[in-house]
């Protein structure tokens, strides 16, 4: 079998090193957010970076039993009480394109916008700014009838998690062009479409971009944060509810009762 190369973790008799750092030493000196940052960036974060990553994990941690991930986890726990890992995994599986996946899509969009701004080879000589990039992106979304990932929320008129995260990013001097572009998108959308708050997906995307993470990290950070809530939701289902308790009101509107033909048509 081919050798598997890995640049993440080295294990040997009595020692485990992640990206070169001894795990025992990090247990003493560092936080979980530091190690998550290290795993993905191969360096330990500054205090400001650590605080932003902690804030993003907390922002993602739980949103009640109604979010598809929590709901899926509780439904699985309701039928499968001996394997809580199955319930938590089912919760993660709901974090796809619609639920919790907008962050990844938004980060791609922001990165493309910034690449367009950075590109000098503008044939028509127009100045490229965050505002013109935002105008172009919103115009395209309107033209194609598509929603803007990272903007809008089904419950919140303003998503408090986004507001705090951007304030923290500014205070620590880590807010960059990612945050600037998504705020420009929000302002342009408010002008052209309707008020659409930056949601938690969009906030994570902008800040993670400014911290140097690739698009898939928006999904991963949301998942790492949300698993805290999923474990609590599953624990509550297992300790507080009886098995198979979940009912939904079903109405059948398919074909009427009919007889089974004895043999298939040859």
């Amino acid at each position: 079998m081919e050798i598997w190369n890995t640049a993440i973790t080295e294990t040997g008799a009595g020692q485990i090193r992640i990206r070169g750092y001894d795990v025992s030493a990090m247990m003493r000196e560092r936080s979980f957010a530091d190690v998550l940052f290290l795993l993905h960036q191969s360096r330990l974060p500054s205090m400001g970076e650590r605080r932003l990553l902690d804030a993003m994990l907390i922002a993602s941690a739980d949103h009640g039993p109604e979010s598809p991930s929590s709901l899926a986890a509780r439904v699985v726990a309701s039928g499968n009480r001996r394997a809580p890992e199955a319930a938590v995994a089912a919760g993660l599986l709901a974090i796809g394109d619609v639920h919790g996946g907008a962050g990844e899509e938004c980060l791609v969009l922001l990165a493309e916008g910034l690449a367009w701004i950075a590109d000098d080879a503008d044939a028509d000589g127009d100045e490229r700014s965050v505002a013109t990039a935002a105008a172009g992106i919103v115009a395209r979304a309107v033209r194609e009838g598509k929603r803007l990932p990272g903007l809008g929320h089904r419950t919140h008129a303003e998503d408090p998690r986004a507001t705090v995260l951007f304030a923290m990013a500014r205070e620590s001097g880590l807010a960059g062009s990612g945050v600037a572009l998504i705020e420009a998108l929000r302002d342009e959308a408010a002008r052209v479409i309707r008020p659409l708050p930056v949601n938690v997906d969009g906030a994570l995307a902008a800040v993670l971009l400014d911290l140097g993470f690739p698009p898939v990290a928006a999904r991963f950070v949301f998942m790492v944060g949300r698993i805290a809530g999923l474990t609590a939701q599953v624990a509550e289902e297992l300790t507080r509810e009886r098995p198979m308790r979940i009912r939904v009101p079903v109405s059948y509107d398919g074909p009427a009762a009919r007889d089974v033909p004895r043999d298939p048509v040859p």
Copy 2:
């Protein structure tokens, strides 16, 4: 790396054989139930065995969107529309101990009962019959306050799937001591506890035991059958419903709003 031994499938240039039989030849001559039987028993089934396995798969195929497996699959599809495999897998994860898992537990119980009957070394000279085994099993369940796996259903007073399966097993001469024992358990439970129909889990357990399958097969056959329904449930969610449409009526009864202490107690 150590060699992986397998007795299931052999693949090579231009050929695939399952348990020694060419897949292409089986595609021409055989049914899916035949191959499922073959995969687990290493022999092809008789016509009667095939028909019973088909009947068990059909019995397991679907029970509406309310069963935990279907519900979990639809919730995941509601948040994750680009990866239907995630939704179907979440459905399978709900098939644990409570939902769909009673078959495995029931098969273990039946096998233990039959082993007890077959055991000659009965110190007290009493005759061991299906009826005395059933009486002992029911008495123990009553004493320990445990339910009997394979008996009872939350919707059906009589589970029509069990009735038909037992009739088919009898007609084909394949009903054996497994079917006899679960029917004795049902009769004893009706006498001692209350009328408890054999449910689909119990029916599968009894017939699979008589066909020579091990306990875990009750779970596997249910899963293989149910995946047909899960794929249809996911297809209906994706084509008929809008994303994130699922709502549950939530009431919060946890701690009241309180201020976050700025620093942890040292």
Copy 3:
């Protein structure tokens, strides 16, 4: 809570009907492939359609422990012996875009090709045939440097499952423009690129298109078939191998050992 509408299954006291047909009656008269067809098409299949669907399920059933789905299932079973549903679900999760997902992509491609042929409004007056569609599709793939989904196999120079399936479709008169187009693609690819056999994904796509299934059905049929093999692979791992037995040869090539800075940079 909103009512959930469903056109699949109706359950009530003592009765279960799928698409209007009583499950008990189908257990007596029909096969599992019939019910899978019914669940997705809302009608029972002809004998020829049933045989093709059975053949597709058998073609998908197993391909040894090395396929990503089987391998994932066995690895999970190796660490999780009390929840076989987790192992089978992990196997399904590997059926994504690369493994087993080409069928869906291929069915989309074929359907687009047939729609292009059927479109009368051809501005330049050229005749549109299966051959010209195939030439256009292959030319585009070459131009864009993309592989053709449904063609090529890492093990087989000719995939025997495709050959048999197409022969069966022809014999039963059910091979239509889907089969014709993928064979034209294969011939064109052999001329322009190199010999690329139709693989099992492509064969399923073409035949399912001719049977009236939508693209996602290619994934679903593969999953339903493969779950038979996954249950057998998991059963073999659990009965034949010791826990945690799986080793891979790992080589670490990340950062060298380094000291953990005591405090994050502020």
Copy 4:
């Protein structure tokens, strides 16, 4: 539909509170470990408790690609590149009874041992101590031929993660009877069986017991920590390796090639 009660999270227009605490305020003031503790204990931790929980999450974060969870995640990523949530979920599914599940089992064992010590009603008047409890538990394991959960490791003669965690628990005054009992078990096992280090599962179990967590928390904390590593393993597979790259050396030892009988025996 029945109301769902929850004591975890309250959401409303513009506000999210976990166990009564505003999420935005916690994003500013607290760490992820604080919120995980809060979700499960309904109170914020002290600084010492936070540091122990962080250390446990770091201890669980990664152990290289060879652990069943990482391996399963990478195999799934190898076949499913468009849905990283499927790969991470498959990794969690491997955290069952054998891999990563010993913590839960160990915590149950420790809690039973402490309950036995605390029980005054000792008929024979013997003094009940941590040492006599440990002797009894080890003797029973030897008698029943069972391994002791939380002791022993396939790679490490001493698990450095356990050593550091116990030192930290002592330094902060949080090491209690859980740590005392597992160390007594280790010493007794070394005397009676052979040197068996406390492994990371056992260390988490003992410290979580002393922090007031229930048994299932050992599994949950391991899962929350490990998901950090799983996301990094999946990211490395997706960016560094080609699809479907994973091969295992397979040897078939099942039935020899044989002809398919045309019809089933009736």
